[in-house]
């Protein structure tokens, strides 16, 4: 009897020791099946293209060992995607590609219950700059011209853009507040329609990303009259920023990055941070940034959390000023 107890003791202590041995060398996380990358747009939308481009680059440069598959969860702005991620609590093989909408959407939509603070931020990758563009044959050569005309004829000029809580409109609102000018905002769901209406003369201006504008400027259809950034854009060296033109307004960033579902273990976060660290330094990524004229907005860790908090505060303020219903 005593001997069997002794054996049992030996075996259990052996197991325990080997167990603690494992704990001592915490296994670094390595994905073992394809990664699901959640985006909040349908196929062809901005986030979708961004995620697919990154997936392709990562495949080429073998930054990750598994395939990355883009999953479209569009609906209610970012509501469906965010709640999908929230439900995947602890899932180590799912990530999400966020944009600024993920911060603002829960502020205005009651049904969007998941906030960005509920999810696990990993890294911010880019800041998408924007420019203020008018039709090439319009009389506005500088931002000042546009503002002056808008001041003299309130609500006569028109700007095409996306949703009223999107960056296009928020830019307009902060400029209006700072200058006293007023002009109309007309929402169009698709980028194509916004451009078509500008080119067709139905609206006078729009906020557009430089890489989209580039083609139309080369063709002589559009003119950029202001860069909505802190510094001048390398692709438009002759276009002054708003600040340079005397309009001192905060820059409203359109950020893009990656996050993970809630409750994801620390090793997984570390793994992804490592992946994106390497990825951000790769030549392919640098080239992609240049081609698309994105600003490198690499940010992670506590700085990233701070960015989200500050963005939420800024958005809340701007939205309230705009008269939009802020529910959170």
């Amino acid at each position: 009897m005593k001997r069997s107890w002794y054996c049992l003791l030996l075996i259990t202590s052996g197991l325990v020791l080997s167990g603690t041995g494992d704990f001592a060398h915490a296994a670094a996380f390595e994905p073992t099946k394809p990664i699901e990358a959640v985006v909040h747009t349908g196929p062809g939308g901005g986030s979708d293209i961004f995620a697919r481009a990154i997936a392709e680059l990562m495949q080429k440069e073998k930054t990750i060992s598994q395939r990355m598959q883009v999953v479209n969860k569009s609906g209610g702005g970012s509501a469906v995607a965010m709640s999908y991620l929230a439900e995947k609590k602890g899932d180590t093989h799912t990530i999400g590609f966020f944009t600024g909408v993920w911060v603002t959407n829960p502020l205005t939509t009651a049904a969007a219950k998941v906030m960005i603070s509920d999810l696990t931020p990993i890294v911010r990758l880019v800041l998408e700059p924007a420019v203020f563009a008018v039709k090439a044959d319009s009389p506005y050569k500088t931002m000042k011209d546009f503002i002056e005309t808008a001041k003299k004829n309130p609500n006569q000029l028109k700007q095409s853009g996306g949703s009223v809580t999107g960056r296009d409109n928020l830019v307009r609102l902060v400029i209006e507040k700072a200058t006293g000018a007023k002009w109309v905002f007309v929402s169009f769901p698709s980028g194509g329609e916004r451009i078509a209406n500008l080119l067709g003369g139905h609206v006078d201006a729009m906020v557009i990303e430089p890489q989209e504008a580039g083609e139309h400027i080369k063709a002589g259809n559009m003119r950029v009259i202001a860069a909505l950034t802190d510094k001048r854009l390398p692709s438009f060296p002759n276009v002054p920023t708003l600040k340079e033109q005397g309009i001192d307004v905060p820059v409203i960033p359109q950020a893009r990055g990656v996050l993970a579902p809630p409750g994801v273990p620390k090793e997984v976060v570390q793994y992804w941070e490592g992946v994106f660290d390497r990825f951000a330094k790769s030549a392919g990524w640098r080239q992609y940034l240049e081609q698309n004229q994105f600003e490198d907005g690499y940010l992670k860790g506590p700085a990233l959390n701070k960015f989200f908090d500050e963005l939420a505060v800024q958005m809340r303020e701007v939205l309230k000023e705009a008269g939009a219903k802020v529910v959170r």
Partner: protein, 503 residues
Amino acid sequence: MEALTNLLLGFSVALTPGNLFWCFVGVFLGTVVGILPGLGPAATIAMLLPLTFKMDHTAAIIMLAGIYYGSKYGGSTTSILLNVPGESASVVTCLDGYQMARQGRAGPALGISAIASFVAGTVGVIGLMLIAPPVARFALRFGPPEYFALMVLGLTMVVFLAGRSMIKGLLAMLVGLWLAGVGTDLFTAESRFTFGHMELLDGIDFVVVSIGIFAVAEVMVNMESRGGTELFKVPRGIRNLMPTLKDLKDCRFAFLNGSVIGFLIGVLPGAGSTIASFLSYGAEKAFSRYPEKFGTGVIEGVAAPEGANNSETGGALVPLLTLGIPGSNATAILLAALILWGIKPGPLLIQDHPALFWGLVSSMYVGNVMLLVLNLPLVPLFAQILRVPYFILYPGILGISVVGVYSVSNSLFDVWMLGLFGILGYAMRKLDFPAAPLVLGMVLGDGMERALRQSLMMSQGHLSVIVTRPLSATMICLALAILIMPLVNKVRSFRLKAVEQDV
């Protein structure tokens, strides 16, 4: 002629064995995708995008475009055979196509659909080739007021779809308009009629409604009585499985009508092939010698909309390739693909990449021929589906419906909605409410409301903007004319009756 040299350049690119192969792959996949209800070209192109990264760009765009216009060929198959709209643009084809199948004329219906698609598709490519730039510039003149007028014009098609009771048709249309409004308001981000369901924030998917109201309801109607073994009579012999020469002759106007309307609507970003097919059907009925027969299995009622949704693809490529403006979901992904490959579509695409552009255009000619050759022989094969006994076919249709709906956004909620719309469709059948106006309202409701509000935003609240601009005013007048027409006809028939009675 510059066009000729460009075309020769294009064919030299398109007819290389590699590009021919990829063209075939594209149109084949497109046909399959079109046949399957629910799964659309947009999602398929998105799925295949990663595979194209290693391919030569011209070959890749040829293949993806093949999927795009190929899907319009297949969409009519299930519409005609099973009353299941394969694609949103094929809903109109269900109206006469399915009736033709019930009369044993499934073969001719499928055949004319393929032929009309070929004719109109080719016309669309010709349009793209010859008149793309000026048409694109013309399309730019369409602002929100013009879109609103176009949508109103589209809604007047209810006059042609309502069948016997105009009141019921209007009621169905209003329900459709309401369904379109469910979701999040674009302008104010307020949610409407979502009943707290997050899944409804993006609105109700059109596919769910159309498959529910058409397919599921149809199955339910047929479940009412124990079926025999065969569904419809399927005539034997190749001759009865193809459209006759008389059929082709009858459809001359339909071919023209479909091609022109489809192309023009396609050029307008945002107006889709569904609107094109409705407008084309309405126009065909308006100018027909026997309008009252539409809805009972008239072959022009299949040829016109099927042609329209094919030439629309040619039209939709116009703003994409000349201005870099995508007109629909599928073209948006094509745009994304081009951007990902480093080719920037825009006004300079034709200049910077002539081989790509003309190669693509030429490949579309080739593709259309391939599709005709692919689809026509399949007609007798598909017609045999109708030989399958009821009790196997009906669970199959329900299965396809569920798969189709689920494949849209992988949402079980959508499948529940399918059940809901199924019983709604059944109730409509029992109470003699026409389904087409509901679909019409749903398709156009969003666009119309948006266009009106955009117009009012632009004009600071002055409605007059719609009638002061020439293009929109013309369309509104046309719409009014169409609305007054049935009243005029009623008056005329009263008068005739009065005259007869007097005599």
